[in-house]
Subunit: 309 residues, 4 copies
């Protein structure tokens, strides 16, 4: 900040960031007749010496958001997209190391899955299930990678109870020993990897970086296994089981944050029609919904995934 | 209509319908430890002798929308949900045959797919890919069943061209001999079955009705195969190939309507950065988009699927 | 269609149309320091001699959807945007009269409202209330204009009853003599104007065309007045009152179609907490919802607004 | 936490919260024939001694989310809804003071505006413009109130430039000295009020609490005035002007956070059609978009609004 540029105001600039959001880049790799596809939504957020542009409108330190968009597409060609995480590492490092005034870059990426159809090798259908996410932050010294998923809807049609809870004068809920438990999983997991030993390198020899693609598939599997395999007395218990299972199976993951809306399925009262509803017919409700959120940490690790909801 | 009830106005009532929309019914079937799930969104629309309620507000002929909701949930118990189509047939027949003033019932259903997770037999994840649809109409004489799907996103990364088109003074598009072709399929197919021989029956012996579940899986497969297998000179050509393939393989389907937005993937110009983009890096665009819609008919059949878009 | 081009298939092409959808054109008119803004979302759908492109992929008759997009933006400069309707008339006429193979053009437009903020003359806030709509169709002989609105949420907190309805074994609803009546209005009204006397003209002297902007404001007012002013025994009665009022006040409008979801506001049972709820506290429900749809016609007019829902 | 209840796992529970989200409460106040309406969406999140429920599934400390829902509706009757903020203060205080195991309550509220229509006194149309927001947090000692708005779309059709920015090898953007500047404002402002002197009271004598309703109208006005009145060299400059203006005019507000997506309106190139586009015809783009976020602080104040995006 240039002291002169600041207006004589009783206010100061706090945290700020800027960049181009939601760059929809699709990368095709042609291995003969067999193609591979990576389909990403990339958002760039940069921070640094940005006082002047806020105080006076001087853009001298502002790399245009349009440039950050161009960089996303150019890097898809120059570096390819091996994984969303590796791609984000390239981008985050680039902005901080190439522009002196940028001190921190955060790359958020959504990835949409595709599966093959037909026998052509170049035909795909979007899987449509969960959206894969990652967030890569670089501050010039180390990386922080928080990967995750969202929109993954799961349901147990039994092995869920809810009773023995606290009661006050506004409590009318009946206890239940057999209910549907359904949720739409949003999960984020933080890798301990910071890449600090190799930030001087070109990134190609990311020797010690996690195997991003394999890890994703495994973590997804553990979340599903823990959801399915937990006899649940509360959604909180299921949440903790899901987060713990991930950390127990992945030495490289120190923290998991889960946001689990309780997608209520209420048993419909069919008695007015002379019918017995033996846990067969449910109405899926929209709003309101219970919302259970929590962090599970490796013993000794520090919580760094922000509580955003 | 009671002549007296109509106000002395220069206006008349035209087509009208009413009912409860978006009843979210979930049916669990427990086969020992193995559960099955049907997850539907059911909308009821009834028509008939409804002049009075519009002209004077007399509800004497109006079965409440709340009752139609109750019926959906009660029928899920009484009849089960073997398929969305069979369930809709039960409902449509019921409203028309049980209420004299109701002359026509239309049941629209969306179905959400689930796949098993874990080994419990009662754990599921929503597939999240296409939404299955059906619309059953009954007018007291026969049924019309139009089934379909929506939200199915498909992409060919090659084998698509676009050239040789008409040009006028507003044409700037460059011809291409290798482009990405992507669309989000909305398809509706009409069955020739009308159930007219058995509308007196109880529906349980729907002997001649199509095998709704198997047919769905097959039609879906044919749509995907035709999309993947067509070397495309235009999205219209692909559309016709998709519809034709369904009709050719299904004697019981007379008409297919497809709505195919052209989800443009534009090749990014990387030359300003000294890079060659050899059909590798694309930007997925949102709006505007080409929209291609068309009906394919069995030779001799009549078009009955309404053009709604 | 070229007979040769049709594959030897047991299928035929039915109704079809194509064009560029959702062109987001914003037009600024600068009257000195005072600016005016028109903000439209324009969708083009063309029909005509399109057999070849479906049967063989020959694009010889296909004016690219990209060209239809360019035309929208060029016409915003060449003709300006006096109203969405006048703009659509220009576009529809152009496509049919300039391309022999195009026999019918349908232009759908959404318009977003803006209001002035500050004193600059060039600063605006989006009103965010209803979205204005219009659909202009031209077949080479005459126009059909169906204008309307959507997303307009209205509520009466009293003067609504619901009782005296038909009952069956699935009826549990309690009668009420004071309820909230709320809906989200979708309305479409058809003008009798077809412009047949002047289709040879340049459109600038649209002497007999309705005053589109004034009419819109008036119709919107009549819909709101009728909703507010009707003591309602059923939503159908309100619907008919709304449509009738428009037709009675507008000689140039022959038909109105309304789609009125019943946005249920249920009285909350507060008795478990020792509280009396004297029509004070409601829960606004999402799904399911009653859906009431109907057409009101001028006596003697023909129904032409398609029943799409 | 009961030490025994924690499983022998290498993991620990971190930050967690739970409650019922999106309670859609509508409160009607009848002042004779003139009614008033408050339309809120209330989300409750509670934290406290919740280890057991995560580790073992014991719900002994868990007040059900269903109870928190009931409380929202009961409080709408017991306390009325003078403002979203005052309502949230009642709720937050209640949960923390009435349940020993709950140490912190956060109430988030969205409010939807209504305007009168007709002359009935009980008829309303939803304004549809911005959504008003507030978040009230209580930890047993003091409150933190962060109010705001979202979905407010504004546009200046001139008096915006963008030039003199940093350039690198990926920069292709042309400088401009007259562009459209449009954004969708999300703003949150933190009150310095903590209510610490009166948390023992019943809340009715909230003597020193800000005038929530008046303040909202004023802050909204200041945001709009600053947006309209700033000759803008960058959206960051406009952001700072908006935040500063609020703080300068409101002694009770210490911090403002703004999230301003740059809703790009690109000038359409009409030269291929022989037309000159003199800042008249624009295409409103969807994605990608610039995203500018920042905090403005009163000199000496501490930043407490979380950076969530």
């Amino acid at each position: 900040m240039t002291a002169d540029s600041r207006p004589a105001r009783p206010t100061l600039l706090g945290q700020n960031q800027y960049g181009k959001a939601e760059n929809r880049v699709v990368r095709i790799v042609r291995d003969g007749a067999t193609h591979r596809i990576k389909d990403l939504n990339v958002s760039v957020a940069l921070s640094g010496a940005m006082d002047d542009v806020h105080y006076s409108g001087s853009n001298a330190n502002v790399l245009p958001t349009d440039t950050t968009k161009n960089t996303v597409f150019a890097f898809a060609k120059e570096h390819g997209i091996e994984s969303a995480e590796a791609f984000g590492v390239h981008l985050a490092r680039h902005f901080v190391t190439s522009q002196e005034q940028i001190h921190r870059a955060r790359i958020r990426i959504e990835e949409y899955g595709w599966e093959r159809i037909g026998a052509t090798g170049h035909s795909f259908a979007r899987t449509g299930q969960e959206t894969r996410t990652t967030e890569i932050t670089f501050d010039g010294r180390g990386f922080q990678v928080i990967s995750g998923l969202k929109d993954l809807v799961v349901l147990n049609s039994t092995d869920s109870e809810f009773w023995g809870y606290a009661k006050d004068e506004y409590t009318t809920l009946k206890e239940t020993h057999d209910r549907i438990l359904a949720t739409e999983v949003t999960a984020r997991w933080r890798f301990s990897w910071t890449g600090e030993d190799e930030t001087e390198g070109d990134g190609a020899e990311n020797g010690d970086a996690p195997a991003w693609e394999e890890t994703y598939a495994q973590v997804r599997g553990h979340l599903l296994e823990a959801f399915a395999g937990t006899y649940s007395l509360s959604l909180q218990q299921t949440l903790y089981a899901m987060g713990s299972r991930v950390i127990e199976h992945h030495a490289g993951i120190d923290e998991v944050r889960l946001s689990l809306p309780n997608k209520h399925h209420f048993l419909v009262d069919l008695e007015p029609f002379g019918l017995k509803n033996d846990n067969e017919v449910y109405v899926a409700a929209d709003r309101p919904y219970g919302l259970i959120e929590g962090t599970v940490l490796r013993d000794g690790a520090e919580a760094r995934i922000p509580v955003t909801d």
